[in-house]
Each structure stands twice: as structure tokens, then as C-alpha cells.
Symmetry: C2
Subunit: 631 residues, 2 copies
């Protein structure tokens, strides 16, 4: 088989059993890799109603057919499990060098069940797998652990995927880290890994395990084309300033969530922009295995109270927004430091920053006091307080123990009306792209099975124009008016299918996605076929995307969640934004509900329940899932 090894490692941490499954090629073509492949095991092997921290939770990790092959944007790993943050399906992607190295180590996926009695780590090398004691690594931050493992194993080139202390402490938005600066950030996958006492997965492999490519010349041609066209592509913007390139433009249109979403305009935006980061603290640009885009920031701060080491990378736009604008903080160094803390302790910067911002608003209006916050003056703009809280959360110290539950659960624990300020969907904090301006994204925030997510669909056709690229998906005429009409819902659905395919082929949306692309969707198909020797069409690929979305949705249906869970934070409907270009904008719940009707219909789901029907499941080759759901 090309692209894949055809080897999936099953790990039972309770018994210590390691077993390699060798699926047929047809299995790979159907589930492809990444998210859909993970979800296959989640739905097959996990009973309904499991506690996310129980041994029965299945933690599935998979790369796709392109991982480890010399072309940009392929070194991506999906991790999926039942999410402790949402109680529904959890699903998260990362880049870096680990995904490619997992392939080089001889495995396409690792499916983890059970719970170890003592901390362990999984050591994968040249097709071999072993569990090793990790007691000495427990409670240590990511950078240290990397160093210790490298020393212990005496291997120079290896990659470490790990949880930090936050994962060990079951912070509900704990991340899984690799390179100490890349994260499977969202949905709390790190807490699941920590709960299993699996500290790390360490991978290395030799040339012998490099994945075989069916048509190396075709692939080489595409890689060469990509290198030559990078500068003239949209991806070039990312190359220079990283994702933070959008900070100032978002703010200009009133699209930078500020002070826990009270406003879309942050007066300090220039202070936390990609440009300023570039001028002041950027040390270098980093990249993922085989990628020419180099979108990753590496910052360094060698003096002052917020010293930052380059090994912990640098903040993305989302991180700048959540620790910055969300919290009213315009101190770039403090944000970079908070980012470092998240990468050391292993936490999602979005949920972490947003949860602190929520607490700040509660504090500002008097629903929280210093008695609650261990004496911290938790006000908007207080950079020091923000940084303190990040560390407290990771360690579950004092008020951090409450915030470590995420804003939605914390509000439930505290009560007193603090719920009104929660900005989360399905319990997951909302990322820094505003549905007030990006209406179709708002729909996807609401309906996405693993909570508000900005990387599950293209943003809004009225906001970003790219008719040429959309034409390949028959989305040539994006609709300008800021209403969620049928065409805009169609745009949302189609791009959700495409992103769903990207997360299953497991490639980077900044290389192959419709917005920042270096390669378009048809080139993705070309690359996939060059690698696998298959004859996949964009049509088949979109169906793979639909299949994955149905798997996610079926998981939630089995857990009892459907249409009612698909909504936006009440605040968006009740309060208008204040200040900036988006002043006065408020969303309509009725409009969202109507759009959901259309959304479910276009997906072939039951409009009343929002759940997949047997017909639709059979239609995407998932009759067995319909059986599981008792349909």
C-alpha cells in the first residue's frame, strides 16, 4: 500500500497489551485517516454514556495518507476521544514534526484504551512499540520532559507528543503538546490522555519506514510548484506575520472580540498585532515537517518580568486575541508569556484566555470578588492577573481549580448569574472570529459537533471573497448580505464538508484550505492520488468529509445530544456589540433556528432532532453506525 503502512497500533493501558491491526486498503480509502479513522474506532469500541475520564474512553490518534511525504501541509495529527469539556465528541488537530515521525515510526494510528496504574509513556520506533515507565516525568513541564526523554533514550532525532501538568491535573481544556509548542489544543484531549496516565508518545523511525509514494515524479513536480508559487500565494501573508496578520484587519472591521465579547473593537489592537510581534520579539519563523510556508512564530524575550524561551514558540492570532483583546490586555510580552505557560503546562490558549476573560467580566460587575479570586484584582486590562490565572489554572490552585473546569462549568459551580457572561458553545469557548460579521461561521459554531470551532468551515463569503477558488466547489457566487439565507447556509455546509475532508486526509488548511491556500482543492486531490495511487475525485473527497461529519454527529446523537445543543451564546442574541465598526450588531436567534432547519436538511438529517437518519448514514456507507444508533 502507498501512503500508509497499513498498521494501526492498539494499546490497552489497563492490561499493557499492544496489538497491531492490519486493515485492508479499502478501509483506508473509506475512512482515509485522521478524524474519520479515529471516529470509526470511537463509535465502534466505546459504549455510550462513558465518563470522559473513565478507562472506557477511547483516545484515538491518526495521521493521514500524506503524512511524512515531502510536500507542504501534510504533517498533521488528529486526536479524538469523548471530550471532558463538552461531554460530546472531542476532536483536535495539530501540526509539527510529530505527525510525520509517527508515520516514520511505522504506524498510521494509535488507538488507546484503558488506564495505566502508574504513569507510562509509549515508545514507538521502526515499527516496534513498547510502554515504559514515566513516573520520573510526571508533573514536569513539556520542555523538561523532552530533554529527559531524549537523554534517557539516547536518540537524537525523536519527536515527543505529551501532556503537561495541566493534562495530568485534568484541566478540562488541557492540550496535547508536541515539540513543546504545537498543540492538539481544543476539546480537552490532553485531560483524557492525562487521565489515562499516558504521559507521552515518543516516535522515531528510519528511512526504511518512510511511506511509499505511488508516483514520486508527480509529487515532486507538485512540491516544486508549491515552492515556486509560495510568494505569490495567499499563504505568503502567513509566512511573514503568521496567523496574527489578521489582528489589525479584524479589529478595523469590528471583528476582534474584546472584553469577553462586549465589543468587536479593541483600542490596543496595534500593540498585539502580528506586525508588532515581528518587529519586537520575533526570533525566527518555524515550520512543520516538509512545509515551505513557515507560518509558525518563534519569539524570544530575554529580559523583564515576562521572559520567553524560543523553544515554546510564539502566539497565534487566537492566542493574541484571547489573552489580549478578550481580557482587554495590550501587553504583548505578557501575552507571549501566557502563551509560553500554556505550552509548558499543556493547555488550549483559546479556552484558557476566554475563561479568564469571562471571570474578568464577572469580577468587573461584582459577581466575583477578591474573595473568590485568591485576592487577585481580576479586571480587564490587568496583564499580571491574567498571567497569574494561567498558572493557577494549570496547577488547579485556588480559584484556578474552578477555572480549570472551563467557563461553562465554572459558571454552573459559582452560580450568582455568572452564566450570562459565558461565551461558549457546547461548553467550549468561542474562538476569536465573530459570527456578528461572519454569519455562516456563526452557524457552524452553533452546529459543530465538538463546540465552537473556527477551523471547521470557511468563514463568511461576505467577509472574505475568493470566488475563483470556490468555483471548484460550485460556490462561485458568495452572497453579500449579512443574513443567513439558504445560499449562505449552503456555503457553510459545503465548506464544512471540505474542512471535514481536510481533517480526515489530515492536511493543513493553511496549505490546502480555501482561504489561505497554497494548493487548491483539486491540487489536493492530485497530491493525494500521486501519493496513494488511488483515483480519488474531489467528489469522493467531499463524501469522505460528509462521512466524517456524520460520524461526529452520530457520536453525539448516541450521547443524547442533537438540535438543542446547537446554539450560540445567549449574549449574542441579547446584547448588541458596542463600539467600533460592528457597534450595534446583535444576532437573531430566530434567524439561526431557520438556518439550522436548512442546515440539517442539506445534510440529510432529521430537522426536528438534528440527528443523522438511517438513509443518510447508509448513503455515506455507514449502515453499521445506523445499527449502533438503533435507527
Amino acid at each position: 500500500m502507498y501512503g500508509f503502512h497499513g498498521r494501526i497500533l492498539h494499546v490497552d493501558l489497563t492490561t499493557g497489551e499492544l496489538r497491531v491491526e492490519i486493515p485492508e486498503e479499502a478501509f483506508y480509502r473509506k475512512y482515509m485517516g485522521g478524524s474519520a479513522l479515529c471516529l470509526y474506532y470511537l463509535l465502534r469500541d466505546m459504549p455510550a454514556g462513558v465518563d470522559p475520564f473513565a478507562a472506557e474512553n477511547v483516545l484515538a490518534m491518526a495521521v493521514g495518507p500524506m503524512a511524512g511525504v515531502p510536500i507542504s501541509g501534510q504533517s498533521r495529527l488528529t486526536v479524538a476521544a469523548k471530550s471532558p469539556l463538552t461531554g460530546m465528541v472531542g476532536d483536535s488537530q495539530c501540526g509539527g514534526y510529530f505527525p510525520a515521525e509517527l508515520k516514520f515510526a511505522g504506524f498510521d494510528a494509535v488507538i488507546i484504551r484503558g488506564q495505566a496504574r502508574r504513569p507510562v509513556y509509549l515508545w514507538l520506533h521502526d515499527g516496534e512499540a513498547e510502554l515504559r515507565d514515566a513516573s520520573h516525568l510526571w508533573d514536569r513541564v513539556t520542555g523538561e520532559v523532552e530533554d529527559l526523554i531524549k537523554e534517557e533514550l539516547g536518540v537524537k532525532r525523536l519527536e515527543v507528543l505529551q501532556v503537561g501538568p495541566a493534562g495530568e491535573n485534568r484541566v478540562r481544556f488541557a492540550a496535547i503538546m508536541n515539540m513543546a509548542n504545537r498543540a492538539n489544543g481544543r476539546t480537552g484531549m490532553g485531560a483524557v490522555m492525562g487521565s489515562k496516565r499516558l504521559k507521552a508518545i515518543v516516535a522515531t523511525g528510519s528511512n526504511r519506514w518512510k511511506p511509499k509514494v505511488a508516483h514520486p515524479d508527480r509529487l515532486k513536480g507538485m512540491a516544486r510548484w508549491g515552492a515556486q508559487h509560495l510568494d505569490s500565494s495567499d499563504a505568503a501573508g502567513l509566512a511573514l506575520f503568521g496567523t496574527a496578520v489578521v489582528t489589525v484587519p479584524q479589529n478595523k472591521v469590528g471583528g476582534l472580540p474584546t472584553r469577553n465579547w462586549q465589543s468587536g473593537y479593541f483600542e490596543g489592537a496595534d500593540q498585539i498585532s502580528g506586525e508588532r510581534m515581528y518587529e519586537e520579539i520575533l526570533k525566527k519563523r518555524d515550520t512543520c515537517y516538509g512545509c515551505v510556508v513557515r507560518c509558525k512564530r518563534v519569539v524570544e524575550i530575554t529580559d523583564g518580568r515576562y521572559q520567553v524561551h524560543p523553544r515554546y514558540g510564539g502566539p497565534e492570532y487566537e492566542t493574541l486575541a484571547t489573552f489580549g483583546a478578550y481580557c482587554g490586555v495590550d501587553d504583548l510580552e505578557a501575552i507571549a508569556y501566557a502563551n509560553q505557560l500554556c505550552n509548558m503546562y499543556g493547555m488550549d490558549t483559546i479556552s484558557c484566555g476566554a475563561t479568564i476573560a469571562w471571570a474578568m467580566e464577572c469580577f468587573e460587575v461584582g459577581l466575583l470578588t477578591k474573595e473568590d479570586t485568591d485576592g487577585v484584582e481580576l479586571r480587564f486590562g490587568n496583564a499580571e492577573a491574567m498571567v497569574q490565572m494561567v498558572e493557577k489554572i494549570a496547577k488547579r490552585e485556588g480559584f484556578g481549580h474552578i477555572l480549570a473546569e472551563g467557563s461553562a462549568r465554572a459558571a454552573q459551580l459559582i452560580g450568582r448569574g455568572t452564566e450570562q457572561f459565558v461565551v461558549a458553545v457546547k461548553g467550549q469557548e468561542v474562538p476569536a472570529h465573530m459570527p456578528h460579521l461572519k454569519r455562516s461561521l456563526g452557524l457552524i459554531y452553533a452546529v459543530n459537533p465538538f463546540g465552537a470551532d473556527h477551523q471547521s468551515s470557511e468563514h463568511d463569503p461576505a467577509y472574505v471573497q475568493y470566488p475563483e477558488r470556490m468555483a471548484t466547489l460550485d460556490l462561485k457566487d458568495p452572497v453579500a448580505p449579512k443574513v443567513l439565507n439558504g445560499e449562505k447556509v449552503t456555503f457553510a455546509v459545503r465548506t464544512q464538508w471540505l474542512y471535514s475532508a481536510l481533517d480526515t486526509v489530515n492536511v493543513c488548511q493553511f496549505v490546502f484550505g480555501p482561504a489561505w491556500q497554497l494548493y487548491d482543492a483539486l491540487q489536493l486531490v492530485e497530491a493525494l492520488n500521486a501519493i496513494t495511487g488511488w483515483n480519488v475525485s474531489l467528489y469522493e473527497l467531499m463524501e469522505v468529509g460528509r462521512r466524517r461529519l456524520n460520524l461526529l454527529r452520530a457520536f453525539n446523537a448516541r450521547e443524547g445530544f442533537g438540535r438543542e445543543a446547537d446554539t450560540l451564546p445567549k449574549r449574542f442574541f441579547k446584547e448588541a456589540l458596542r463600539g467600533g465598526k460592528s457597534d450595534g450588531i446583535r444576532l437573531s436567534e430566530a434567524e439561526l433556528e431557520q438556518a439550522k432547519d436548512v442546515y440539517y436538511a442539506l445534510n440529510g438529517w432529521d430537522v426536528a432532532t438534528g440527528n443523522p437518519t438511517r438513509a443518510t448514514l447508509e448513503g455515506v456507507g455507514l449502515a453499521w453506525v445506523a445499527d449502533r444508533l438503533g435507527l
Copy 2:
């Protein structure tokens, strides 16, 4: 613009006005050509509830972007109008040289309204259009008319699309003929053209009007590849024996409808096979403009009572089946002669043969007598009676006047229980592929908006295996059991969308379709893009197919037809087949109704009514159609 001229001719026969519309390129990309383009005008310009023979009926004809370009399978024309046979949407494709020549004459489509006071023909040459008197051509058979027009215009190379006397006489299944041997056969489009007193459309053009190709080298490469791979492709089977190559295999499995569908086995099948035609009466093989497949038969019979002239071509499988097995006739020469009569008078051989077969069964059981049939002993196996009836129908003589209404209307006129033997869907007679063996085809027979049709989807995955080719459509695992389960319905739906796209790009399914292909679906996309310079994906193409299907369905919804019209002949549910390998097989109405639920759901239509919803119409870019339907 490449591929197209960007010129659509509007003809008002009432006023004699000729007007050229020049749409934007985006219009062509959206509606593409052929069927969808025609349907756009039908829905836009025709009010609901029009009598098919009224001046208000719009007769639309269009070629696609590939017509007239040097590659196989592109010279195809769609004709659409409200059908006098079904009272719903009518839609029919033909091949030949006319479609390419229409392009060479400078037009992509001709949209005809109104009704001429005297017979006229439309003369299209090098971008010019004029209406000319056709009184002298009226009542003449197709061959004669061709000769007269060529003489009159003094042009050597021209192509004539025309109605014969059957169309003039409004035989409800009259065809539109070109080359006197190619037919837009089904749904009675010839009767509509005849009712408008438009005898013919004559086209010729010079090199100046040849369509421009965006990437001629890429196209040349594909044409060369096609010529080189013909012999090793499935299309080779068609090249040697024509479509009649299936006669014997169909009969072997019990799939040759015999004696008005009483049986699937015809003892005389060998006598009417493609092989026998090849040995006995084949003169040569013919082809369409630019096509290397050469699937068309040309037969000649120079003595005996059934003399056949080569200019009228030769029978297809369907014709051999309907005049042969349906009627219990095993006389190949009589069938070839009946075929010639249909081509001279301009009639659909399927509806004509099937209507006679229905009358024969009524006669056999005594529901019709010689008093009804002008003294003709209308029994199964009576070749002479069959031939007599063909001519009577064309001329609407005696009993032919009744049969010219088609079997469903004739049964209503006659009564006496003759309805029980009607084998038609939506009033259109069922073609010679049996849903008893091809279950997913049976579903498409039932739901197809213009009545039973065998060229609107792929037949049955259990019957014909082609997993490799289906993989491009994510239909890799056809399901063997002969039940209409969800996966089989999915197969039907997807291939219906693909065929719908083929009829809109307007290419031949024997060249680009999944069953007899020379080129696969991805090669079609490649060819389309090489010609147009677009960047269409298979995904976009499938969406074009869905768009066209929604247009057809919307037309019927507007006329008040929905789910209830989607059924199969009662006989299929009540009686089992007798004899041969399919002995004892009877279809289940409950199974069909269940499959329809799934079918509508997969199309995003209202399951209760079978009608498109606003969401789905907006989803395929047809919000304006939803407006028309008052949704």
C-alpha cells in the same frame, strides 16, 4: 468564451421574431448546456398548466460546451418542453451530426415559443437565422425532406433536424429526427415541434464558427488516448454489435421483457440479437460527429416484403426488444422495417413498440377484438400486424388514431379493463431493462421526472459490476442482494446525478458514462476543462447534475405532480414474471415506497410530497425557482 459562442437564439413562431441573447459566461458555467440550460428557459418562460400543444409551450434545444469539438461523444442535443405524453416535463437527447453542426452554425441553443400559422423551417447558417416556408415539406417523410432541403438551399453540407408526419399528426410519442436515423425519441418532443408547425431546423456553418478550445493540446492528447484505448475499453463491445450486444445476455438472465412484460425470457431472442443483425443485414457502422466508437447500426434489406434502406440506420437494442420481444416477434427483418417506419415518420420506437405490445395483450385476452383493430389480428408474434400498426399510428389511421395517444391514454379511452396491462410510468412506456432484476433502475423508472427512462441512471450494481469506475463517485461497494436498501438507493441517486450531468454537459453515456465508457468521469472533467478553460471539478459537475434534476422536479411540482406520480406499473407488483431465469419474480410496492423515502431524503426533498424544498433549491443556486414555486 471557449466551447460556447455565447449566443442563444430565441424564436417566436407566432410573430416570426428572431432574437439572439448573449448571456454571461457565469450563466453557462451554472447551467452548462443541454438539459439544465433548456430547463432554465422552460421554468422561466412557461406558465404552469399550459396545454403541451398550445403556443405557450416552450420548445428548448441546446448543445453543451463540448459539442463540435474533436473528441468522441460530444455531438449531443437536448430537446425539452412540456410533454404531451406525460403532461409533465419532457426531456430527450440525440446524437448524430446535427448537434455539432448547430454549434458550427453559430448557436448554443434555440428556444422556441409560439405557433406558426403555416409550416415553416428554421435556417441557421454562419450565425444567421431565418424562418422559411415549409408548406412543400409538410406531410413528407424524413428522407425526402432532407433531399428537398438540400436541393432547395443548394448547400452540400448541412444537417436537418425535423419532425416527420407523426410529429405533424401529434402522435404523442413522436420523435424529432436528424440524419433521418437519429432521434430525440422519448417524451413526444416531435409532437410539440409539429404542433408549432415547425417542420425542421437546418444548420450549417463554416470553420469560422467552430468553437474555440482553451487548451487544444490537452484536448488533442485526450482524443489520441481515446482512439488508442477504444479496443481495450468497454465501448468496444458497442462498436462491434451496437447496443444490441446486450440482447442475448439480458435474455439469459431473464431480463428481456417479453409479450408485454409477462415474462423476462423470449424464446426467439437469438433471432433478434446484435450478433444475428451483424451477420445478416448489417451494411456498415455509423457514428456521430467526431466519435471513434461507431456504435450506430446501418442495415440494408434489398429484397422480400421488408426492404430497408441504409439511410434509415438500423435498430438499437431497445427497438429490437420492443418491436421484437415485447410483441413476441422474432422476425428481424420486420423489426428492421418497423424501425425504418419510425425513422421515416418520426416516432419513438420504444413507446411505439410497447404500445402495440400492450394492444396485443388486450387482444389476446379478448379485451380488444378485430372490430377495434380495423380487422387486424393483433396477436403476439404477428409481425405483419405489428408493422401495419406502426404505419397506422404514424398516420393516425383507424385504430392507429387511438394507439397514437400512447398506451396509458389509449387504455383510458378504451376502458374495459385494458388499463391493467399498461406498462408505463407517468404515461411513458417502460424501456427494455427490467426492474425485476435491476432494482435501483426500477426506483429511477418510478421517480424520474419524465417517466420511465433507462438512460437517467446506472442500471444495477448487483447486475453490472464496475467497482473501479464507481470509485470516483465513492460508489465502490455495490451491494449484491436484490433489495432496495439504502446503499442501493444511494447508488441510484448518485448515478442519476451523474447522468443528469452528462445530459447537461450533453455528452454520450456510451463514451463518458460509467457503464460502457471509453473515458471515465474524471476524464470528462479533464476534457471539459481543456475545452472551456474552466476549473470545474467532478464535485461541481455532480452539482450541475443535481441542479438539473431539481429543475426537472420543480417543473413537475409546479404542474401539481409529486410523490404519487412516482410509481411503477401495477402489473409489476401484482403479477410474477413467468419463465426463464426470472420466473416468479414480483416487485414489492412497500419496498418501493420505502426506497422513495430514502431517495427523497438523499435529494433533500420533502419526503411526503417528493417535491424540492426551498433549502435544497437554494442549495443548488435555484432560489429563483423556489420563488416561482411559491416556496
